[in-house]
């Protein structure tokens, strides 16, 4: 297939970024962060969502989707392992928040490390035996794991079963910034900060040893192993880091929603997040962000066709994948980090 030149936002963006010097780059980054941070104030414009509150939509689904898609991208995009059970880590984070928040009296920020730790432990427990499998087998095992977590939560008494857990505390105020249900700007800013931290982590890792190991594993696992890469170790790392991001997103979601129940953590969430990753451009951080934003935002924006919106969503997935199979903003053919910074580390 010929490479199409129109619509090539990726190369345009890359050329602007690369031709800029340091102060200019800082300026670009700061302007875009400020623009994003101002998004909750744009509620009166054409961006407004018909039924759901606009600032709430920005936090969930949009913000949390972006965060989770970035986490899943470490697993699926960077190291090429198909994970269909990502929702499990999200659920573990959310339930950690719910149970610890309602029983121990710790606040959201103190619970966050626990949520991340539990998700990572679950990642290692699942990863150690299963990451030897490849391709579709890994997909089905992770899918099963996601379902097991949901079913265990659904059928156990400590999680209050199908009734879910209510009265989860909100995060404490940060100085003048107050967390409120009817005005979720502060939540949105917290999500943005978490997204920035995740982007920073991924970018740092991608140009260093783990990132190159993942890239090698993704391209050809056998060859990578022959080159002396400890493939299992790096695969588990990738899996665990993805889990950590999912757990963090879960903690925030639990604390924002005040109530969680098992039906929020079905396979559909895993599939949606995977769709965000592939739709936007698998492996490319910016593509993933664009994909998650669109897929998180679209169903709420088209609420006016209320009943058929999931149908439209499905059709959009089919059409976009058929015409842009590498996603809206695909990654470059060769990760340039490998060529340029191959010498250090």
């Amino acid at each position: 297939m010929k490479i199409r030149n129109y619509w090539n936002l990726r190369d345009w963006g890359a050329s602007v970024w690369e031709s800029a010097n340091r102060p200019k780059r800082v300026a670009i980054a700061l302007t875009s962060i400020i623009l994003v941070a101002l998004l909750p104030f744009a509620g009166a414009s054409f961006l407004a969502t018909p039924i759901a509150a606009y600032d709430a939509v920005l936090v969930y689904p949009v913000g949390i989707f972006v965060l989770m898609a970035l986490g899943l991208n470490i697993v699926v995009g960077k190291s090429g392992m198909l994970d269909l059970g990502y929702v499990a880590f999200f659920a573990i984070g959310a339930y950690t928040m719910a149970i610890m928040g309602t029983t121990t009296g710790l606040n959201t920020w103190e619970i966050m490390p626990f949520g991340i730790a539990f998700a990572m432990i679950a990642g290692v427990i699942l990863g150690l035996p299963t990451l030897r499998l490849r391709g579709d087998y890994l997909a089905i095992v992770t899918l099963g794991f996601g379902e097991i977590v949901r079913l265990v939560v659904l059928n156990s008494s400590w999680s209050k079963g199908p009734n879910g857990i209510a009265n989860i505390p909100m995060p404490p105020d940060i100085g003048p910034l107050k967390f409120k249900l009817d005005d979720q700007k502060v939540f949105f800013w917290v999500v943005v900060i978490m997204i920035l931290l995740t982007i920073w982590m991924i970018r740092r890792l991608s140009v260093r040893r783990p990132g190159r190991a993942w890239e090698a594993i993704r391209q050809d696992e056998d060859a990578a192993e022959l080159m002396g890469i400890a493939t299992l170790k790096y695969k588990i790392w990738s899996f665990t880091l993805g889990a950590a991001v999912g757990g963090a997103a879960g903690v925030l979601y639990g604390s924002k929603n005040l109530f969680i129940a098992p039906e929020m953590f079905t396979l559909n969430v895993s599939i949606l997040i995977l769709a965000c990753v592939v739709f936007g451009g698998i492996g490319n951080i910016w593509g993933v962000i664009v994909g998650a934003t669109i897929l998180g935002y679209l169903p709420d924006r088209i609420r006016f066709i209320s009943d058929a919106r999931l149908l439209v969503f499905g059709i959009v997935l089919v059409v976009v994948m058929n015409f842009r199979p590498d996603g809206l903003l695909p990654r470059k053919k060769r990760e340039k980090a490998i060529v340029k910074k191959g010498a250090n580390a």
Binding site: L82, R134, Y137, I140, E221, A308
Partner: protein, 316 residues
């Protein structure tokens, strides 16, 4: 804990075999497509769901049976059952061809990455499910009772019901016919050739597009037949039943070794029995967990499935 299992062992076994045969037929839809394309036919669960509606439409709208009408007997019964079965197979077969055409063909011709195809299949299955949800108003649809569930005989304390007997015999027959078709017919030979080596098959003059469409069709026919048996046993359908059944059938396909038709047979039967026993011992709510844990264990110690070929390393 095991008292229920020991008490009702034989009736559980019969229920398990009947459920197992339904799984066998659905997992054919997964395993055949996987064998040829090396891809999960993600929309198969929705193909199954559409198939169940084929039966409901035939008995309710064509033969005008209602929830309260007398069950059919004799020749009329056979006529209604056979035409329901054919209708389910037809609906599911056409849906399967549609899925192949819309979600798979273009991407396959372009030779793109597998994930894109997976997402496109996920998209089409969301769309199929949503269309049915809108058509049925999100409500469960009960099927009129055409077949009276008379108890034929009693063996070792287990009641042998007519619907279970029909399900087991007819499903086994359909499986046998399809298996012979793959084994003996010219088209079946072409399907097996493509699943062994796509390029070599093409060089030998096999029409790839036609083979793949036929594979989807055969898988769809089997899945549709499963839809008919599902209705005969459970007498109810809903727009979202596809997921649970599809998941279980896919597990069955992996258990038996995906891509392998015999494997689907053993995998489906063992999964059906396993599920029924597990829910008798641990309670219904834990049966899916047991099934998945067993699946993980099988994959760990016998990664190709119980009867599979070495496919797990061929595509990373």
């Amino acid at each position: 804990m095991f008292a229920v299992l020991i008490d009702q062992f034989w009736s559980l076994t019969i229920a398990g075999v009947a459920l197992g045969f339904i799984y066998v037929l659905i997992s054919l839809g997964y395993t055949m497509v996987y064998g040829v394309l090396r891809m999960i036919n993600f929309a198969n669960s929705e193909i199954f769901m559409w198939g169940t509606f084929g039966t409901v439409i035939t008995s309710r709208d064509i033969f005008h049976y209602t929830q309260t009408s007398e069950p059919a007997t004799g020749g009329k019964l056979a006529l209604v059952l056979v035409s329901s079965l054919l209708m389910s197979m037809l609906v599911a077969g056409l849906t399967a061809i549609f899925v192949e055409f819309v979600a798979y063909r273009r991407l396959r011709m372009k030779g793109t990455n597998r994930l894109a195809t997976l997402i496109s299949a996920i998209g089409i299955s969301i769309a199929l499910q949503e269309v049915m949800r809108l058509l049925t108003d999100s409500r469960p649809v009960g099927s009129p009772r055409v077949l009276e569930k008379i108890i034929l005989t009693e063996v070792w304390g287990a009641n042998i019901r007519l619907d279970t007997v029909i399900t087991i015999i007819a499903a086994a027959a359909i499986f046998f016919i399809l298996e012979r078709f793959i084994k003996l017919s010219r088209m079946g030979k072409a399907i097996r050739a493509v699943s062994m080596n796509e390029d070599a098959a093409k060089l030998m003059g096999v029409n790839l597009n036609r083979v793949i469409t036929t594979t989807f069709l055969v898988g769809g026919l089997a899945t549709g037949a499963a839809g008919f048996f599902y209705i005969t046993v459970f007498e109810y359908t809903k727009f979202n039943i596809g997921f649970t059944m599809g998941m279980a059938a896919f597990t069955a396909a992996v258990l038996g070794g995906i891509g392998n038709i015999r494997g689907a047979f053993y995998g489906g039967l063992s999964l059906g029995l396993l599920e029924v026993y597990a829910s008798a011992v641990l309670g219904t709510q834990w049966k899916a967990v047991t099934v998945f844990i067993i699946l993980v264990l099988v994959l760990l110690f016998k990664p190709n499935g119980l009867f599979g070929e070495a496919v797990q390393t061929t595509r990373a």
